[in-house]
């Protein structure tokens, strides 16, 4: 067997929890694989659904979004809205035929350096197993990239985004923040727009 693949991983971490957890992992000198590159955002709620897709189109083999634990977002519901965006991303990846495991959204509180390390180590490991983007999917890099670019474009489109607004709205109304409910709401609200995406 050849040496294990060294994947490229892009992270979006919220300033208040996961980014702080990553810092505290450093302070505690907990070691993890050097594959992650981090973009700091104030809250995972800032995550535009197009960002992860663009990340994959720009050479990432895996995307990690890290926020505060549910109920602990510094801005109250940001991470719930992030789950809505994340569902769309997963939905689109599935459509394109990219393993959903390449996109992970998870939580670590400011005090949880070791937990962050655990999450990121496991994720890196998993993405390494999947190999370079396209390998597990059986597609050429060019093909995958152009499909991802299309998906990103769609994620910026008014149609899809209105679907997301409706999903977010219903989530807030029902106050049901489970991942499965959110993902079925996104499926439902964006079904039509997603259908148009080949």
């Amino acid at each position: 067997m050849s040496a294990e693949y060294n994947p490229h991983i892009l992270g979006f971490l919220c300033n208040w929890c996961c980014y702080t957890a990553a810092d505290s992992a450093g302070v505690g000198r907990y070691q993890y694989p050097p594959n992650l590159r981090v973009i700091r955002i104030m809250c995972t709620g800032r995550l535009d659904p197009s960002f992860p897709l663009e990340g994959l189109a720009n050479g990432a083999d895996g995307i990690f979004v890290g926020g505060c634990h549910p109920g602990e977002c510094h801005y109250q519901d940001g991470n719930y809205h992030a789950l809505v965006s994340a569902s769309l991303v997963h939905e689109m990846l599935e459509k394109i035929g990219i393993s959903k495991e390449r996109f992970l959204i998870d939580w670590a509180s400011a005090a949880e350096g070791p937990n962050f390390v655990k999450i990121i180590t496991a994720f890196t490991q998993r993405v390494a197993e999947l190999g370079p983007l396209g390998k597990a999917e059986g597609k050429s890099p060019e093909e995958i990239r152009s499909q991802l670019a299309q998906a990103a474009e769609a994620a910026r489109s008014r149609k899809i985004r209105i679907g997301l607004i409706n999903a977010s709205r219903e989530m807030m109304k029902k106050r049901d923040f489970s991942r499965t409910t959110i993902s079925s709401m996104v499926q439902e609200k964006c079904a039509k727009a997603l259908g148009e995406l080949v």
Partner: protein, 1025 residues
């Protein structure tokens, strides 16, 4: 130095404070006081501020780089227009009364003009006279013309008059020729200045254990016996060996290292019976770093007791010992001997009473903290009393007050303590001074001004990239020059450099010059984390006339070199990627307008115990309204469970005095039987509802203090609850107040320490139980000297001056027997009070189990937090696994929480003594008033903005904004969204949901994040979609 002349209204209160001592405590007080609106004279006897903390390589328990966290504070103090730093100065006398003192200061000449010196270092290069380098513990040499250390503040050199050839023999004078700035002043003279001040804070730090004591352990005789301070310098990248731990005798790496504890502490023979409180933990730190330097070295720590009683310390120690494979020996080797074939011989008596001996390559003496050498002189000058160990005499209920009103004491001079406790006291004393001098607030200060911002409109991005070595923190792993050179190749980068410490004052100065010289309009610093250091660099940018939003950081330490220590190449690659991404983002940054928000000048304090009441009074005395919310009917909290303190005073009386003051204070509203129901808002503008017996009260306030307290842990073993003869220490406190406290014919009382603590139900050490046990043992001995009191313990943690009680207890015949967690004592109890509990424990010296029949069995149990989960959720503040609030920074922000405007004190923070609780509550009260005293806050301009062209008025943003900070308005018939900047917190949910991407976030724009994503591309090719 021009001190302001006493003005015409010299009878009124003076709005300035003199702080004696420029260590971390003094600097923190100065910063806090300046923030609260007072002028500060920071008097330091050496050539630079920073104190001992500046000499440390790392700080426990997180092993944070000491200078990295201290330097920003020093820089801030150095550039604060309201802090006058007087170096080489000392207090001669103090006349006057509180509010109106005249402090006479003697200022020794520096012989180099501070105002003119550029810190270039030419004088040192040319200086012919070598002297011992005090900063490096004389392990190396420096020149007579020198700077104390490279990050020193003020960034100015000075000449040692004792050794300078010119000053002594009228020869040489080369430095004056070499100095291009013309800053050398051989005719500089001593100055005496009288400074009018309203209050004085003594923060001179601690002194060193005498050489005589060190010599008994072979120091000075054998090269390879080092003091901990020397060892600390050896570990440090900026130290004499560049961070190599080598034996002074042969410059080889030591393979067997021994750490000896309690050198000059807990030692009657040298007069220091007290415990220095910090050495147990710093030895663990040093040992861990020695391990980092050499994975194979054998490291042994010799302890009498392992006193790691601070918050999170036990956990840190256990982890360090397990991970680093240290050997811990409970013994006190009395001396160090050399042996014939080299090496250092230690002999000791082990716990079983057997003699042991072993050879080591290096012995490190964990020396204690003494009172400062010139404590006497200082006490005389300030007319304050000292205690029998030459530390400042204070009272448990007013821990920061000296015997002279208006003169306060903080830090190690108040009693040996660690950095967080010193910083806490610093905050506390600022709060007190701010109360005493409240009427003179802002009377002596000047407002900070920045130059007008340069308009960069239309300019191409000109990015400067600064890569930091952070000593060896980054440079030891990441190839910094390589990263620097790489940065040079990036588009729009016009300037790159690397620095040993980017955060030092001279680098900051240099930065300003470079920004101007190279007309930089964007700045990228690749160093530590923006969470702690962004404000510092942003302030520097403002000084250089740039908008602070044109700044970006690449985190190549906390998230790179520290987490990939064994993968140097990969870490270097990662650092380059991070720099590339940061530069890409920086190019797209635009200047953002600053906003100002009003502040509701009042506070909400939750919890009416000792901590809450003290905090409320500290705030109210400073002139701000305060609402105190207490769940119970009465104020007072858990302090009332203690019947006597270690001096025989009744804590309840002090609490009563406090609550009496609270009740009549015109600025304090007390709500009892009340609990917080909801809270919303942010610093400056909180709104809370408090549910009480008479319904809900709505309160608007600017800050919150959490003083929600803790509660005694209730043990579930050793027959507690089954037998009336088994009590907790708290039960005993009450019983000792009875008319007949002890059972008839009471022969033996047994106490068991750490019941339910340190790895049992509570994972941590509660800090106060050992002291309480000893105190109660002495009370029993007083009542009935013939009663045998036996204390079964793991480590007696009678830190600080409590050690006196420990000694006294032993002298009075109290028996102390150590047990290990593997072999804890066992107890059998009968049902009724005639069946005495039988306690069995293993005695190492006898080598067998010993049975004791106890007339009373006392369990020393810890303190639990009152479950903070619900409140923490409401406030969005983190809590530790042990359910205490997690402070924003363990060392330097010990009472702030991560959320601005929220503070913590008392047992809700961690278990602590009465004295520590009071100081911490005063600190919380002082810190909380900072935003209140400003009257406004200027949050980061990271708010949302709407492009009306693109906005379709759908209202999704309004719907999802958690702060009602974006609202739909009508322009004729057209609906548009608009941001209310004052309420926006910058989360970005609106932007992520906007259907037309009409909303963007300041500094986190769509395009700038996309630029980062594209720059991430490992193939280097950008996939522009």
């Amino acid at each position: 130095m021009n001190a302001p002349a006493p003005n015409s209204q010299s009878l009124s209160t003076i709005g300035s404070v003199m702080v004696i001592g420029g260590g971390v405590a003094g600097v923190q007080t100065a910063l806090d006081l300046s923030d609260l609106g007072f002028k500060v004279y920071l008097v330091e006897k050496s050539g630079a501020i920073g104190g001992v903390m500046a000499r440390l390589d790392k700080t426990f328990p997180t092993n944070d780089c000491s200078l990295c966290i201290l330097a920003p504070k020093l820089v801030e103090a150095g550039r604060d227009a309201n802090i006058a730093i007087l170096t080489k100065s000392e207090l001669l006398s103090l006349e006057g009364e509180p509010g109106r003192f005249t402090a006479r200061i003697k200022k020794q000449p520096r012989y180099i003009d501070e105002e003119v010196c550029t810190g270039c270092g030419q004088c040192t290069l040319y200086c012919l006279k070598q002297i011992g380098d005090d900063y490096n513990e004389n392990l190396c040499r420096t020149a007579a013309a020198h700077i104390d250390y490279s990050q020193a503040v003020p960034t100015s050199y000075h000449i040692d008059p004792k050794s300078c050839l010119r000053l002594n023999y009228e020869t040489c004078g080369l430095c004056a020729v070499a100095c291009r700035a013309g800053a050398i002043r051989f005719d500089d003279t001593e100055e005496i200045v009288d400074v009018p001040v309203g209050a004085v804070v003594l923060a001179p730090g601690f002194g060193r254990v005498s050489e005589e004591v060190l010599r008994t352990y072979g120091w000075g005789k054998f090269d390879d016996v080092l003091t901990a301070f020397e060892h600390e310098r050896l570990m440090c990248a900026s130290g004499p060996t560049g961070g190599e731990i080598v034996r002074p005798s042969d410059e080889k790496h030591p393979k067997k290292i021994a750490f000896l504890q309690c050198i000059g502490s807990r030692d009657e023979t040298c007069g220091n019976n007290y415990c220095s409180s910090v050495c147990c933990m710093y030895a663990i730190k040093q040992a861990s770093l020695a391990r980092e330097h050499d994975p194979d070295a054998e490291i042994t720590l010799f302890y009498m007791d392992v006193r790691t009683h601070g918050k999170g310390f036990d956990a840190a120690r256990e982890r360090a010992i397990a991970e680093n494979n240290f050997r811990v020996v409970y013994a006190r080797p009395p001396r160090v001997e050399d042996v014939f074939d080299g090496g250092l011989l230690l002999t000791w008596v082990d716990e079983a009473g057997k003699h042991q001996y072993e050879k080591f390559d290096l012995v490190v003496l964990s020396q204690g903290l003494e009172a400062p050498e010139d404590a006497d002189k200082l006490a005389q000058a300030a007319s304050v009393d000292l205690n029998h160990y030459q530390f400042a005499a204070t009272d448990s209920y007013a821990p920061l007050e000296t015997s002279r009103p208006g003169v306060y004491v903080i830090g190690a001079f108040q009693g040996p303590k660690d950095i967080p406790d010193s910083v806490t006291q610093a905050g506390g004393v600022a709060g007190i001074c701010s109360g005493v001098l409240a009427q003179a607030r802002n009377s002596e200060t000047v407002a900070a001004t920045f130059p007008v911002e340069r308009d960069i409109e239309g300019e191409e991005p000109r990015v400067g990239v600064f890569v930091c070595h952070c000593g060896i923190n980054i440079g030891g792993v990441v190839n910094v020059p390589d990263v620097r050179d790489y940065a040079k190749t990036l588009p729009n980068v016009v300037y790159t450099t690397d620095n040993l410490y980017s955060c030092s004052q001279d680098t900051q100065k240099h930065l300003v010059e470079i920004i101007k010289e190279h007309k930089l309009n964007r700045l990228v610093v690749s160093a530590c984390t923006p969470r702690t250091h962004e404000p510092l660099f942003q302030a520097t940018m403002r000084e250089a006339g740039l908008n602070r939003s044109l700044f970006e950081m690449a985190n190549i330490r906390d998230q790179c070199s520290w987490v990939h220590m064994h993968e140097k190449e990969a870490a270097t690659e990662k650092a380059k990627d991070l720099v590339r991404m940061a530069v890409a983002k920086a190019c797209l940054l635009t200047p953002l307008e600053e906003q100002e928000l009003p502040v509701t000048p009042s506070a909400l304090v939750l919890g009416g115990g000792l901590a809450g009441m003290t905090a409320a009074l500290t705030i109210a005395d400073q002139g701000y309204e305060c609402t105190l919310v207490e769940r119970e009917k009465k104020l007072g909290g858990r302090t009332l469970l203690l019947s006597k303190d270690r001096f025989g005073n009744v804590p309840g009386e002090a609490v009563k005095k406090l609550s009496d003051r609270v009740k009549v204070h015109e600025k304090i509203t007390v709500l009892t039987e009340a609990e917080l129901d909801t809270i919303s808002g942010y610093v400056g503008n909180f709104t809370s509802t408090v549910a009480g017996p008479k319904g809900n009260t709505v309160i608007n306030h600017g800050v919150v203090i959490l003083a929600t307290g803790g509660k005694p842990y209730v043990p579930r073993k050793y027959g507690y609850g089954d037998s009336s003869l088994v009590l907790t220490q708290i039960d005993l406190e009450k019983r000792l107040e009875r008319k007949k406290p002890l059972p008839n014919n009471c022969r033996q009382i047994v106490m068991i320490q750490c019941v339910g603590s340190r790895g049992d139900d509570l994972s941590y050490c509660s800090r106060v139980c050992c002291g309480q046990a000893v105190k109660n043992a002495l009370r029993i001995k007083e009542l009935s000297p013939e009663t045998q009191v036996t204390i079964l313990y793991r480590d007696m943690r009678t830190y600080g001056f409590m050690e006196d009680d420990y000694r006294k207890a032993r002298e009075k015949g109290v028996l102390f027997t150590r047990y290990t967690p593997e072999r804890p004592p066992e107890v059998t109890v009968g049902k009724d009070s005639r069946n005495k509990p039988i306690v069995t424990s293993y005695d190492a010296i006898l080598g067998e189990e010993v049975e004791r029949k106890a007339d009373l069995l006392i369990l020393s149990t810890g303190i639990e937090a009152d479950d903070p989960t619900a409140l923490a959720k409401l406030l969005k503040v983190p809590i530790t696994a042990d359910k205490f609030y997690l402070e924003a920074h363990v060392k330097l922000r010990p009472v702030d929480l991560a959320v601005d405007g929220v503070f913590v004190c008392g047992l809700a923070h961690s278990p602590k003594s009465i004295e520590e609780t009071i100081a911490q509550a005063q600190a919380a009260g002082g810190r909380a008033c900072q935003p209140l005293s400003h009257g406004r806050i200027t949050p980061e301009p990271i708010v949302s903005s709407v492009d009306p062209e693109k906005c379709i008025g759908c209202g999704a943003c309004e719907k999802f904004c958690p702060y009602k900070a974006i609202q739909i308005y009508k322009e004729g018939k057209i609906r548009k969204a608009g941001t209310i900047s004052a309420s926006c917190k910058g989360c970005g949910v609106c932007a992520a949901r906007c259907p037309t991407l009409a909303i963007d976030m300041g500094r986190f724009t769509y395009d700038s994040i996309m630029a980062q994503v594209r720059a991430f591309n490992p193939q280097g090719e950008e996939n522009v979609s």
